[in-house]
Symmetry: C2
Subunit: 552 residues, 2 copies
Amino acid sequence: MKIALAQLNYHIGNFEQNVSKIKATINKAKEARVDLVVFAELAVCGYPPRDFLEFNDFIKLCSDAINSIAEECNGIAVIVGSPSINPKLEGKNLFNSAYFIADKKVQVICNKSLLPNYDVFDEYRYFEPATSFNTIDFKGYRIALTICEDLWNVDDDPMYPVSPMNIIIKEQPELIINIAASPFSYNHPENRENVLCKNAIKYKIPVFYLNHVGAQTELLFDGGSMVINNRGGVVDELNYYEEDFRIYEAEDVLLNNTAPTHGFSPIALSDNIKYPRIYQALVMGIRDYFHKLGFRKAIIGSSGGIDSAVVLSLAVAALGRENVRAVLMPSIFSSDGSVDDALILGKNLGIACDFIPINSIYDALVTSLHPFFGDMKFDLTEENIQARTRGTILMALSNKFGFILLNTSNKSELAVGYGTLYGDMCGGLSVIGDVYKTEVIQLANYINRSEEIIPQNILTKPPSAELRHDQKDSDSLPDYEVLDRILFQYIEERKGPKEIIALGFEEELVLRILKMVNINEYKRHQTPPILRISSKAFGTGRRLPIVAKYLS
Amino acid sequence: MKIALAQLNYHIGNFEQNVSKIKATINKAKEARVDLVVFAELAVCGYPPRDFLEFNDFIKLCSDAINSIAEECNGIAVIVGSPSINPKLEGKNLFNSAYFIADKKVQVICNKSLLPNYDVFDEYRYFEPATSFNTIDFKGYRIALTICEDLWNVDDDPMYPVSPMNIIIKEQPELIINIAASPFSYNHPENRENVLCKNAIKYKIPVFYLNHVGAQTELLFDGGSMVINNRGGVVDELNYYEEDFRIYEAEDVLLNNTAPTHGFSPIALSDNIKYPRIYQALVMGIRDYFHKLGFRKAIIGSSGGIDSAVVLSLAVAALGRENVRAVLMPSIFSSDGSVDDALILGKNLGIACDFIPINSIYDALVTSLHPFFGDMKFDLTEENIQARTRGTILMALSNKFGFILLNTSNKSELAVGYGTLYGDMCGGLSVIGDVYKTEVIQLANYINRSEEIIPQNILTKPPSAELRHDQKDSDSLPDYEVLDRILFQYIEERKGPKEIIALGFEEELVLRILKMVNINEYKRHQTPPILRISSKAFGTGRRLPIVAKYLS
């Protein structure tokens, strides 16, 4: 039996395009005499469809899509994900389903049992968990058809009381097919491989795993679909960050004897794996955001600092230099060095750089406010006025010419609220809002790996917002090396103050930082969507109350 | 047996304050010789604690709070909500629990079975559903102790496959105590009463129902705790929108014979019930937002339009006129009428009105952009520049003086994207972002019920953003009467285009409006939190992808 894995980039709610892509792939598979072609979880509507699932009209379009796909299924079988309607009156109205289609008809529907409802996932919001299971017999093989999380309950501290494969295995299937929607984080590929290998070893059968690829607003799907043999060895892996299509002979996979490549203990990710991954994921994230929304051109405020330098570089990689525009908006507090650095960067990237000094606008604002401010001293207010003036200019260019403004805030700033709401926090998409400052520097080094794109001076000068004379980030923030390590413990590891202090950090500093994180929740509530590259990004995966007192 | 219902306003994560409030109430109850005092769902930490529940440190503080409360429980029993740790390794780590405390010790912990995970609720994100149930025997009574949603599975199309009370009733309890966290929407009080009455009738025992009161950022808890007899008649109802404490003799409730007050069919809510409710809920929402965050003073851009007039009136009711400041920021497009209207309104409300014309700032911005815009014609860009200039001024005043900026966008505007991101969409809190334009007018009429606070001219003139000469909302939007009805069908009723057209609306108009709603998801992603007064508000209860193609 020839099985094809079709790793595609879907567009949420774009049924016409998704179905036509699926059909074209089915026809390609037919030409290659494939017996069974596998598409991803909720492929027909794209993942995650979120509350569109609450519209009967949307569900009807999913069902129409399945019917249309079934028309192509002569001489070939198809597995494809789509919601299906729960026939029982009890429980939620929908299942998250895998359709097995052959002879132009839906033959079997397998429903997802384990519904992830943590971090960015909300599946229990929409779906009823399956409590009964079935297998598929096709071309002499018995197939255990499962959906993503169904295979993820293999740890010692399982999140779910049941493991569907423990039940399905009693039917003696010869292979597992798992259709998934497993979003990227920089340490996720190893987790994913581990989980799939554990399943193959535990149930002693191969696993055909098919993931999404492409960005869905903040969620990045990195592909990396794979085939694992019954020893837990990786037979093959599809490409990462791009569509792919590969064909396997089931007999060959059953006979394959490749040994598992690594153990199952946590792996310390080396920087030369981590940063290329983050780079490629962010480039894909920018590209899909623009292309799926029908935009081509980006605009970015270029300060001469490292954050905007990295975002400009990523945008050029994603959209082409002809589609990226940098805007320099110096104030009286901007150093000559910063302007020069921004200009050299623009030259290195080969992009257009516009120059719009903000002094006259700033003066007009301060003059208008003078009757109210009188002799009150220069403070955060005047700093924010500069940032908001820049935001207004960038948005005006965006409005006039149809550019999308890319936001350049990093995760460290967003965490502690070191940024101006409606100023430098503006933008349609936050590119590095899930990248800590120390990681931004590493990313810059990676961008410079073969030639100096980001001028060395940008990498070495002390970070500064340049909103007052001789300002340095270190005036108000601890050293980023320390800050980022404390933030990581609080955000990614969800450690409390006592636990973080026990790691050897100074108590007063820890309490000060945690308080900054918590009281700035109101700012993060109004940020653009943030491309997610870590296991815990700000945004939909981290939900905190704005009005609260804990650690604040 | 004397049962007290303690309807309190908690502060999320403010353990010190919550525990001291609970203890003071216990002591008040002791003085009144109460046998059992009942506090709300997750009272110790406040509701909803959201991802704070993922911190072991936070859970430890909940447990400490329970121990501290138990110290007071001599000669009195207490029921109080708190998370508890799931002792099993399988499943989620926590339960949403009701603690029964007596003789200074936790005697019984009852866990919530039905975990709401729709709209604003995310309980399955944190909690394992209970699958076993127990009752409490106290002072000769057997009590069925349930938590909120546990009683809500009484419809013909139930959302959950099990109803805990169907199991618990076999133990022959004599009364139900239900501790809840049931947020307000203007049509929710009747739903709530219906559900509780249905339970009382179905199980033929009284229900003691205890709700939260007070605002938690966007969620408004209206109180309205109540006691229902075994016929489904309402014995008593606690106050709405404020803390309350009442004592009942269980014997009296068991003998009470009051008949049910209304049937169980949906009720068409009359305007003279609806608008006072919305008014009181919004006033409470503003007040708690400020007071729980430790702020006193609000600033609001006053355009002379109805939206800012209503928000100013609500802010004065919530914070006092000495704490509300209106800012008039006319441009060359502002009519004299609007300025006059805003001044009269300010006078009627007795608040300070500042006057900051934006022409010189607008000119400085346009001049700076002229090298790029050249002779391109005035368009949305220049309109947005005005709105963003106003946003910058308001935020500067907010920064300098510590005012909180209240946002004045209404639900109709937010729905169709008729507003400027970083301009009139600025603010710490959106007061009427869940109130349609036609409802804003009704609310204004309610505000004027005994004297003309909002000048009649504001109520009668055609709505205009006044961002270009002779602009009217009706230039770009359909009549609000029609628009709001279509929006209601799409947003609250989740009807698709075919279903809405079938109601008699013009096809082209419906498709245009639905498209406007969907393509403006990116703007709503960056709005302030919106006080929720309807069954479907923008924000955490409505989760849609930004990059998507459905109906766009």
